[in-house]
Symmetry: D3
Subunit: 255 residues, 6 copies
């Protein structure tokens, strides 16, 4: 039985519910999914500023997962915020949803289009594609210009707008799959796949299955050098709760 902690790094609880649902919809019967969000940080993540400030809260959730015996983690925001830091804290594997969606897309096709929310986030999507090795396979990143928290508001027309943009993107890019660029788009995936006629990869589901796979393989993040647990260090001020008191003893928690 695997315990997966699926972390929505923003503070919007309604979105955490959506994310938890997306994860549980694909998880194996033997997998326990715990969907959480921190109680500190931004209510949605739509800029580098938001992303940076979502990381402390994310790390408290990783630390909480360690205390609770989590076997693996999903970072359920398409910018994969704090992935490297989370890997240092977690004893089990950690996968971001952009990472997972791009990996999955590469296993079922040759090149993908990313369809995301705000235009200002497209640079981050490209950075991640290149970081993961998919700079050539990522054929285009397209923004529908709808804020994250409006995605689940029927009045926003998001479902239709995202579907239409997916169809346009595939044609314009010569892609053969679509990667949805926001956890909030999870509920749209199945419908869009039918409409566009190509695999549509939604990251929360993809990450859930990939972490399950890694846990099943007994694979964890390498601790050779870079991702070894951080050594003891004093943190001060507002962040004093993040102090690492002793080697191998994580004490990170939300003060």
């Amino acid at each position: 039985m695997a315990h997966l902690r699926v972390i929505n790094p923003n503070t919007a609880g309604a979105m955490t519910v959506v994310i938890g649902g997306a994860a549980r919809a694909v998880a194996a019967p033997s997998t326990v999914v715990t969907a959480v969000n921190p109680d500190m940080g931004p209510e949605s993540i739509e800029s580098h500023y938001d992303e940076a400030l979502a990381v402390p809260g994310l790390l408290t959730e990783i630390a909480a997962g360690e205390r609770d015996g989590a076997d693996g983690y999903v970072i359920a925001c398409f910018g994969d915020p704090g992935l490297d830091a989370a890997r240092e804290l977690a004893s089990g594997p950690v996968v971001g949803i952009a990472q997972a969606a791009m990996h999955a897309a590469m296993l079922v096709g040759r090149g993908f289009s990313v369809v995301t929310t705000l235009p200002r986030t497209t640079g981050r999507a490209w950075d991640l594609a290149r970081r993961y090795g998919f700079g050539e396979a990522c054929r285009g990143v397209h923004a529908c210009d709808i804020p994250v928290l409006a995605l689940d508001d029927p009045a926003s027309g998001a479902r239709e707008a995202v579907a239409a943009l997916c169809a346009e993107a595939v044609a314009a890019d010569g892609a053969d799959s679509v990667v949805l660029g926001c956890a909030g788009m999870a509920p749209f995936a199945a419908e869009i796949a039918v409409r566009v006629g190509v695999p549509v990869v939604e990251g929360v589901a993809a990450a859930t299955k990939l972490v399950e796979a890694l846990v099943g393989l007994g694979l964890r993040t390498s601790t050779r050098e870079e991702y070894a647990p951080p050594g003891p260090k004093r943190y001060t001020g507002l962040l004093s709760g993040f102090t690492v008191p002793t080697e191998g003893t994580l004490a990170v928690h939300s003060p």
Copy 2:
């Protein structure tokens, strides 16, 4: 319940047994693993010539899997022979073990060393790493100079030689994981991981879990253009059995 067809593309039945074991060791309880090998082609794959001639047999096994209702496929040879052609035939996902092992290594670390059998196969490993997007993450490809079929012969000293080479490779390459470069090395993975102290990724297991994950996500190879089923076409001579009689009706079989 998922039916996975794990295809050893060479004709060495003993190796198929090893491969089937490696797949079943990690498969979910609800997954049925069918491990097979074709009855045509080379007894091991150690050259481009062998690899090319393993593909017709592999394709007969894909076609057989389609007739049997397989949900997904593993190509259990580290050169990932015939992957593109297999994707055209199969209705479910197809993953090669080099592909799977490299993807998994990228999810648990930053850069991997490949340890393989004969020096003449290192070029193919590099080609695959680049094809999959991991040309930079692949830090080195190292050959132990032991033929494929000698790997399971205790007299070959393969277990020790491969383990020693893995340790050397990680240090020389500054890698933080190891990818084992032959299906025949599957039984060595756990022991080497302990010895070297980094994740050691074995492709048969990795591919089994990744295909399970894709099946669980409802993802199949895109049929937009490149990987659409091949159209009707006449094949002649020795290969006349590979004729595609009508659109959408696969008739490939070993004559």
Copy 3:
């Protein structure tokens, strides 16, 4: 005097005649061109499946060439099927027509557009461009959506369609040459070059001259590791004729 074996890897004899003509039109007076096609495999190559199944027949023709004392080989299909395996068998150089055309284009300009047949083959063209080092120089791959065997049918309108697409491609891509993406387009090259006003490189002719050049330089495929002749190995079933009986003694033949 150089003996060149120009191999059409599909079984369409009419196309072999066209290919032989294209090769002889540029060959030196002292070069003997033998244009052949195998008697096994697909009648045209339009998918990865076709390509994979064209390779055994191609290899029988390489082996036949070795018995006949061929000095060099051209693989006359734009997917360059079986190039790596052929290099292992042949004592003289082997050049594929995609490879040759791209190399030649790079010697007379800065960037080329590829104009090919079916949309499903564009992925392969990109793979080859990247494999040969020309991923940046290849500015675009465009498909005219005419099947290979229809190219020489006046009713298909292929000549006009290909010419028009070449002109569009150069303008859209900012290319300064065109690479024709199918051996069957060889007869169109001269006319299109005049019409579009840039060098139009046809692979059969280009490969013929490049193999002549290599033979004239006394260069053969390196036998250091990767492309050394395959060692002895037993092949079974339908492909038992491909058994390599002893080191250095090629016995490949169509059974």
Copy 4:
């Protein structure tokens, strides 16, 4: 007259003094350098965890700089933490010291070696080199295995160890310059340059001059899409002080 805010993102005040000195040593007479560090976060930055948790404090210092009318900013930690987020907040240019040092090295040579502190940070240095376009020009990243805060302790032997490693790195890498990989190495640069005989680039000084140059050119971070100021958003919990109340009115401050 330009006001430069040089931000040490860790909380070690002694290091801030060193950094301020390095900046003032090269600043133009008309430049006012304000060297600061936040009062929240880690006392040194030696892991992804540290780096992520240094960013909130860094951002408070950017916001403070905006209130104080700073014309430009230096992020004085070699991981360039929070650079993208800082660019969103700052009206003037922001340059990280890894970025600056690599850019400067590229203006005086062909390829550089990076010499840094702990082995676990080399991955981040490679990420930055690739992000900035210098993945090929970065010839190697070498760690002296001395913690950041020990650099200015004569008992650590850091000065000698770093100098020796610079000499070895240049020879091993075939580099023609050295980039020092930690702000704490600033006092060593001149001496090492003499000893090794190649340009040794220290990032605090380099960033100071590059920001001066950008200010002199009237160039600021582009606000087209990605780096536009973040929109209004509620932050909660420990980080509620980071709330952006209204468009264009930055209210970030350490609560």
Copy 5:
């Protein structure tokens, strides 16, 4: 006090005046700018032929600068002609204006469009972008099709044409800054920046500030191997004046 020699490598004195003005407009009060052009070579640089033949004259100006005690050099033509050779001759740093503009653009944004003069020069701009590491960051190169010497002729409509093309380029390329691709466009930069709403980087100004920065940092071109001063060598014929008589004694001069 820094002496900067800003070299217009063509023989058009009016353009040298413009270039000198652009450099002085941004130079520090303590910087002395000497703007010169050689008396040999082409009157403008619009082809590889022109560029190659501008280099001897450029080198005479570098040598003259060395005799005059110049601290650094700007090569004020967007092709950065002779940069590598100039670095060998000069004891201080040498920066080309394409190089400077691209570096500066990378410090204030994520990706730039280049707007240049004649279509035939776009290949060179791409070559330089790739050489400097910005092959991905360079989002497009656009030519206004106005000859260099017509840029300052009001009748050419250049100011308007260049501004309009900059706006189009940014939108088409998804760039967030513009690099002006000719020294003759220097007077247009400020106006275009206002009109397009993104940073517009003009290379003469950028190079002036970057050379000032390098001089302020005490950095000079590395003399390890590649850019060491050329050894003694006899030059004959028309170019006999370029003979290097003895190690370390530069005697290059216009005969």
Copy 6:
């Protein structure tokens, strides 16, 4: 019958004799090889400075070839000096010997080592490899530290030193061919190939055959934009002889 002009761009007549011999040794019976060198410029090319100053003389030889009806050109210096400019002047194809050798090596193997003369020239070899698309295939560039003009002096021990370095390079780089990095090494190629056991590609011979091939294919440098003949332009001073008087009328000559 093809007229090939093989241009040694330095002024060392003895080297021109060697180069002419290497070209004639492989040229077809119907090819007339004219080996020349300019009477202006450096006596050998061993720096960027030398290379830049070899180009005017090279261009006079291209212009002379145009007057004499040359069908194609070889630039017989491994830095391929002036290649782009020469392409603009010449109506037939122009190939540099580094370019030719690298292309030929790619046709007979997977990766090559370059063995060249002085360490200061290795940067140029890497630049060319990347420019031609072979940045990954070039496995290493090694310098024997023997000046160009000493290569044919038996007392220099060059023959032995170069051969030994080729053997070391192949082993260290895992290459399967060698590219000789100086025209002066042409006489060593055959002997080294036997000794090292891999293809050894010498650029003068390779370029001769490639230009013959291009001429035989009727291919010339594209005149679309970049390589179109340079337009009329006034050249002054020492270089006034390079003036282009009218469109399409080349008047370049050594004054």
